[in-house]
Symmetry: C2
Subunit: 275 residues, 2 copies
């Protein structure tokens, strides 16, 4: 059984084109490598209703995992926790474990600087104010904890938007959860490059190879335009251990390369990767 | 009245983390600069049902514009036109204007190479097979035309996923449409950088300045962590000509800089941009 994930990225900066959404790509890559299928990425503004609506829509689709990124910090426009609470119809309340995490961070900052302990102002307490029944996840490099809520069909994980914090929490706490849930599946991929053949001429060859190799997915990415064809052909398979994924991948690549050669295309091999 | 847009990006490569979604950022930036508010970005797989569902959901939210990117090419996994047809409950049919555009492209390629005219195979005809009542938009640099469909509340524009083709069609045909529709609105923005002040200490200052300057939006982006604070503060306004947006932007920046200085933070000015 394939495990499915949806990703929500929260932040006006993504919707005004100020920031490139590297978080979505990074999370998608990690999840894919573990054999999880990312079904959808949704980017919404720093707005409680927008966040809550997007979360409700995702929950109706029942993916096993939902990861949010962004909106956990201390400022007024960090609204993800409020959005989650609204979507789940839960109250927000100061979470003791989260407050302890936040307090210890500020005590450590104060100690580093040799100043008095930093006061727990409302913006700081806000980072520990979670939807009821949610669990904080320690943030190894920043202040705002991540959040985990186990819902009926979906495990919801909320991560900060600052990439270093998002990645640190992911590696420390999320990766293990996902790996346990996704079993021994993994994703294998290889790109080959075809020159001197138009994408439209390649199309029927890909169709044929995919028919003959039903577990393999093949997608062409034109890199030079129809009249100066240089096409990346990405061949991939999501598979459990013991199902010989590398072998099945290579069989499809060999068949496709030979078919391209027969109609006068040149093929250059890329590297294969897989877990 | 603010004009709203939603963006759909179609492509498995985005959901497996192979490709960074630069198209969404680029389109969002162009639209924002024209005073259009991008409400949501949705990324879905090369799957007719996924595309059709996402389009239907967007149409229910009634944005004035919907732009799709990706999935217009000749291969089996280019499914956006089929997805649009399904979402709109329209048939797909070969469009004469689109077919002429595609044929002329292949004739030109053949002429360049001094070969016989390239045959209009099914994969090539596919690029001219549009949802009924949709209009093709010429592609100045590639083969697959863009598509425009004027729906009840929403203008739907479908662009290719290859960035050079997407941008060329956008500049040539889409920009003008959006500008006419969005009137004389524009987006103005400025970043300042604050050192030696934690984001959690900045939060109440931002609240106050936004209360005093209700048309201005302020968002802080921590760049160094709470204990090594270096914070970008992005101040922006979407405004019509004649409403003195630059002046209102600067008033908020000045007030915020002064408030930061009073509690011991250092402020460095960035550049202001606006149309």
């Amino acid at each position: 059984m394939t495990r499915e994930m949806e990703i929500i990225c929260v932040g006006n900066e993504l919707l005004i084109g100020k920031t490139l959404n590297t978080n979505a790509q990074w999370i998608a890559k990690q999840a894919t490598a573990m054999g999880i299928t990312v079904k959808r990425v949704t980017v919404v503004a720093d707005d409680v209703n927008e966040i809550a609506n997007a979360i409700r829509e995702i929950l109706r689709r029942k993916p096993q995992f939902m990861i949010t990124s962004g909106g956990l910090g201390p400022t007024f426009d960090d609204k993800t926790l409020e959005g989650i609470a609204k979507a789940l119809n839960r109250k927000l309340a100061v979470n003791d474990k989260a407050l302890k995490m936040v307090r210890e961070k500020y005590e450590a900052y104060a100690m580093e600087k040799g100043t008095e302990t930093v006061e727990l102002t409302p913006p700081r307490i806000k980072m520990a104010t979670l939807p009821e029944k949610a669990e904080p996840i320690p943030n190894p490099v920043g202040t705002a904890p991540g959040i985990r809520a186990d819902l009926e069909k979906t495990m919801l994980i909320a991560l900060p938007g600052v990439p270093s914090e998002m990645k640190a929490i992911f590696h420390e706490a999320v990766e293990g959860l996902l790996k346990r849930a996704s079993g021994k599946s993994a994703f294998y991929e290889k790109s080959i490059y075809a020159d001197d053949i138009m994408e439209s001429s390649l199309a029927p060859l890909i169709d044929k190879v995919m028919q003959d190799n039903p577990s393999v997915y093949i997608k062409s990415h034109p890199r030079g335009g129809e009249n100066m064809p240089h096409i990346e052909i990405h061949v991939s398979i999501t598979s459990k251990e013991g199902e010989r994924p590398e072998e099945r991948l290579q069989k499809a690549v060999t068949q496709l390369s030979s078919a391209i050669g027969k109609i006068g295309g040149k093929v250059v091999n890329g590297k294969q990767t897989g877990a």
